[in-house]
């Protein structure tokens, strides 16, 4: 509804401080979903270098993997994907009406599991780079 004046923090995004589990899950799910779509395009761009021949493709990949920032981005991508999948499964349960009273706990569990898997992946992604 349109307000005739500015209610400041009440209406604005300052309300993020009052966000609860379900709201954070929603924001993060959108965010990670769109990051994944973005990655899809990058992914296609990188893969399509193989149409230029095997050497170009190998060189592109080796060049990218030699960059430390790419290694870190890969860790980020994994975190984003894992969270999206875990929370996606949580949302499927929510849609089926199962375990609704534990919706906040399952969100926290998704976060924790994402963190654990991400940390465990670090040696693999940074292996040989440092």
């Amino acid at each position: 509804m349109s307000q005739s004046y500015d209610r400041g923090t009440v209406e604005s995004f300052g309300r993020w401080r009052e966000f609860s589990a379900g709201m954070w899950a929603w924001i993060l799910h959108k965010f990670t979903g769109w990051i994944l779509v973005g990655y899809l395009f990058t992914h296609i761009a990188v893969l399509s270098t193989s149409t230029q021949g095997a050497e170009t493709y190998t060189a592109t990949l080796q060049g990218l993997e030699a960059l430390l920032i790419v290694r870190f981005l890969e860790i980020g991508l994994l975190a984003v994907a894992v969270f999206h999948i875990l929370n996606g499964i949580r949302l499927l349960f929510v849609d089926l009406g199962l375990g609704l009273t534990a919706q906040d706990k399952s969100f926290y569990a998704s976060l924790l599991l994402t963190a654990a898997i991400t940390v465990a992946s670090i040696p693999t992604f940074l292996g040989g780079a440092l």
Binding site: M1, G8, E11, R15, G22, L91, V94, L100
Partner: protein, 292 residues
């Protein structure tokens, strides 16, 4: 409650007579002055005597009063006692400090649904929220996402419109033959809709919903819950249920819900709103998907 004692004292004062020589106007003003002075005294003693005092920061706004056109927060210090609710504190502030402080209330027992407020950043019923459970100072604002009429009073018209949009009345396909015959419901079916019948139309859920904030046409949790209450009532019959599902599955109906659970968390009657919305989504799909 402290507020009631306050009122009694006031009436006693009013009975006192004044010297006859003055004009009625003067007399009234004198009484007022005296009462104001006395009250100030009383407030001071009350604040001194109280073991604890609590500060309220209350949103003030009144487009019809020059110095309240700009929204602001006023502070009130009220004596705290165990069991004091946010509504008690507001009533104290209004009765003792500023009689123009405006808010809705009636039953004081979470039944009438008049006093849903935004207290410390969350939709709560004033009369059902203990001051002792809150962080102090307590910040009290009108419900977000509704137009403010004055101080803590918001315009509920839109909320009521959405409630009426789902045809919130019992409307069975068939009525019994005898005019006064009861329409019995199975205990199981009663259990199923029990929680959904508890809505007190306070509007807290609608105010907490991000989707309702962005889409003014969204029916909102309370209206959908109301639709659930009747759609799930087996006594109404299949044909009426189908009609009800057509209402909730429209563009601004159940599918707007993004399962953020904010409504479920703020509902003072603990109605599992998200659960009911989700169930109506599934019912709507089931009634549309027919493979035979």
């Amino acid at each position: 409650m402290s507020t009631q004692i306050e009122e009694q004292r006031e009436t006693e004062e009013e009975v006192e007579t004044e010297p006859e020589t003055e004009s009625p106007g003067e007399r009234r003003r004198a009484v007022k002055r005296e009462r104001a002075a006395q009250r100030e005294q009383e407030v001071e003693t009350a604040l001194d005597e109280a073991e604890e005092t609590v500060e309220l920061k209350v949103f003030r706004y009144d487009p019809e009063v020059a110095d309240k056109e700009e929204p602001r927060f006023d502070s009130f210090t009220v004596p705290y006692h165990k069991g004091m609710t946010v509504l008690d504190a507001l009533i104290y502030a209004r009765d003792v400090y500023d009689s123009s402080l405006t808010f809705r209330h009636s039953c004081r027992q979470a039944v009438c649904g008049s006093d849903a407020l935004f207290v410390n950043g969350r939709q709560r019923l004033g009369c059902k929220t203990q001051m002792g459970d809150l962080e102090w100072p307590v910040r009290i604002e009108p419900l977000p996402h509704q137009d403010v009429v004055k101080d803590l009073v918001v315009d509920m018209e839109h909320f009521y419109e959405q409630m009426h949009a789902v045809e919130p009345y019992f409307d069975p396909d068939e009525t019994p033959d005898g005019e006064l015959e009861e329409q019995r419901q199975t205990p199981e079916n009663r259990e199923k809709i029990k929680l959904s019948t508890r809505c007190i139309w306070c509007g807290a859920c609608m105010s907490s919903c991000n989707i309702a904030a962005g889409d003014n046409k969204y029916l909102g949790p309370a209206a959908i819950n109301k639709a659930y209450r009747f759609a799930m009532d087996e006594r109404e019959g299949e044909s009426r249920k189908e009609e009800r599902l057509r209402i909730v599955e429209q563009e601004h109906g159940v599918w707007r819900c993004q399962t953020q659970f904010s409504c479920t968390e703020v509902c003072p009657k603990d109605i599992p709103l998200t659960e009911h919305i989700q169930e109506l989504k599934r019912e709507a799909i089931k009634s549309n998907l027919k493979f035979w």
